[in-house]
Symmetry: C2
Subunit: 384 residues, 2 copies
């Protein structure tokens, strides 16, 4: 099969920023693409060969879309997985697979998968309804504090809450959920694994994620993680084990906790290019979006080492600002050493909305981290 | 002025591969673009906000196009420069300027410009018609061998010929031209200079170009050049002097000869992103296309140092192949270390047509050069 400047057409479900950046790689390879998103102003509306406005949670829409392309992938997990399964049964290639996506879409199922495959993860209990949690506490089957996670549709800190008192329970939606042990961790880590159809598999270096304490969003991603090699080796080995358990094809971002005892536990995974890999556009031999393409098209995987150290800063909408976006002081950060802004193209900002990211590369990770802080303190995503 | 996710619109004359790669940077910054090219299948037809099919050599077409955008740039020199001048007189920003472009478009004028500005260049004679050359030889004013160059519209080796015998003169078109001394040079070098409206100026490292002996096209570009620092310093200083003489805004690629006596002479310049800077997409802190945007929008310039060594191999159509393109063995080169292909998206190949390029990055320039040779000997751009 020749993909380059050919009649082959890749379908992509979802047209957000991840899809937009995936299109840099399809353009580079001249691979024709068809994108579907519910918004006509989706960041991926440009640079694809064909754009369709439609609901990717709708069975018939996804089925019809999938039938019109040669291979189907997605840039967001929240898609109709039944349609993907039907397409696979019809012989269509869907990567990552519907089976992987189905397991991942439900956090309870995902956690059980780790338990079944002897993959270390934080202890948890599963509840069909959040209302059952209080009974479990009363019965002594669960104790406060713990982390409540909605089983479905959690994204960017939505659907995750630390429960410290009984009264915290009142605000929870009464849906399927898990209660996870509150692990006293030193660091949150991530490793992106790429695996192609032939089984060639590679990991990117372990990255370290620093979170915003309130918004539960990643503020800084550092590559490499500032940790000893025996820890990062352990994280990479665990990520490989996870990807192997899923028999994954495509990218798999494995998020992990490093406990105070230097144990590494899997938190959750994302079967796609991931925020923790954005640094790779500037800092790696092979950017994650190109790697995802290589993996799903069963091409040889690219080198995953870094060329330089990289820090990624998320650009999220400032609090108290809603409306037409303005990137205040962006010209000041562009004067800093090794700084590249990525603007996703969303016209409207609102508090904590992901509007873009900034990559800082430098030969020295500590210098990059210092510049990243300066970037963070200088640029403001506000409304006009 | 805010360019990012705003109503600002950048116009780009020409929709070839350079424009296509420029759009990677406009998409990254979410800067709206309008592109014009005579071909509806131009590589830049995707990823711009608006595409217009039209003749960029036509005065009225360029004028109308320029009036519809906020700032105008180009990806090819062969555009209607009178229209650019009118637009400037109307107050439109055009970068690089019409004045620079007018000087450069004619090789005789360009050479005179260097002489006027005390910029070292190979000695030359100017002829209004090629038919005058034979008289000059007869009179003893010119001696064989020399390099004939058409004053206008030379591109990729067209319009350049080494004249070794009187009979070589017969095939020349009878147009304005120069006869340039045949300099016995050791190397062909290039330095890309970026300069913004405020006068901030930076050079990329000196690169070394290796040419295909017959097609007179660059086969390999190596960054850094494998030359002593006192030579590359001299080349970079000369490139700065040239950009300063033009009061250039945007990128200026300065091609130079290194003579056997270690003198550096300016050959010619291109006022735009350039083939000799393609390595920068993977190998530099700031890719040349982003840098061009920074320069013309008067944003701070990015760091021009390399993160790793890079070698660029042009992918040109194989001899004896014309028709629908096939990139034979592309999957084999993708398995090599640090290799990324760029496919421009031209559906039809023909002998020596530029169809794409491949970048090889490595911490060691000699290792990258060896892999580049392997790439060159493996991939074939043929017809189906």
């Amino acid at each position: 099969m020749s993909y380059f400047s050919s009649d082959f057409k890749l379908g992509i479900l979802g047209g957000g920023q991840l899809g937009k950046m995936m299109l840099y790689a399809t353009r580079k390879f001249d691979i024709a693409t068809k994108v579907i998103d519910s918004s006509k102003d989706a960041p991926s509306r440009l640079a694809c060969d064909e754009f369709v406005q439609g609901d990717i949670l709708d069975y018939d829409t996804v089925l019809e879309f999938g039938r019109s392309v040669d291979l189907l992938t997605f840039e967001i997990e929240n898609v109709n997985v039944d349609a993907l399964e039907t397409l696979e049964n019809e012989g269509k290639k869907v990567y990552p697979s519907s089976k992987t996506l189905r397991t991942i879409q439900n956090k309870a199922t995902q956690k059980l998968f780790y338990t079944d495959h002897h993959i270390p993860t934080a202890p948890f209990s599963r509840f069909a309804y959040a209302s059952e949690i209080e009974d479990a506490i009363d019965n002594g089957g669960l104790s406060i504090p713990f982390v409540w996670k909605s089983a479905r549709f959690g994204y960017d800190g939505q659907g995750v809450k630390v429960i410290r008192t009984i009264s915290d329970l009142k605000e929870l939606p009464n849906t399927e959920c898990i209660a996870e042990a509150l692990i006293p961790f030193k660091n949150e880590l991530a490793v992106i694994v790429a695996r192609n159809e032939s089984g060639e598999i590679k990991t990117y270096p372990t990255v370290e994620m620093e979170f915003h304490p309130e918004a539960n969003q990643v503020e800084y991603v550092l590559c490499p993680a500032r940790l000893p090699e025996h820890i990062t080796n352990k994280a990479e080995a665990l990520a490989l084990k996870v990807a192997d358990a899923y028999k994954h094809v495509g990218l798999l971002a494995v998020e992990m906790f490093l406990t105070k005892d230097d144990d590494v536990l899997v938190n959750e995974v994302a079967p796609r290019p991931h925020n923790s890999g954005h640094y790779s556009i500037e800092g790696s031999f092979t950017c994650q979006f190109e790697q995802h393409l290589r993996a799903i098209l069963n091409l040889p995987l690219g080198k995953t080492e870094s060329t330089v150290a990289g820090v990624m800063v998320n650009l999220v909408g400032a609090e108290n600002h809603t409306g037409d976006v303005l990137y205040k002081n962006i010209e000041h950060i562009m004067a800093m050493d090794g700084v590249t802004p990525h603007i996703y193209g969303k016209k409207q900002t609102r508090p904590f909305r992901k509007m873009g990211h900034v990559t800082i590369i430098d030969k020295d990770i500590n210098k990059a981290r210092a510049i990243a802080q300066n970037v963070k303190e200088t640029i403001q995503v506000i409304s006009k």
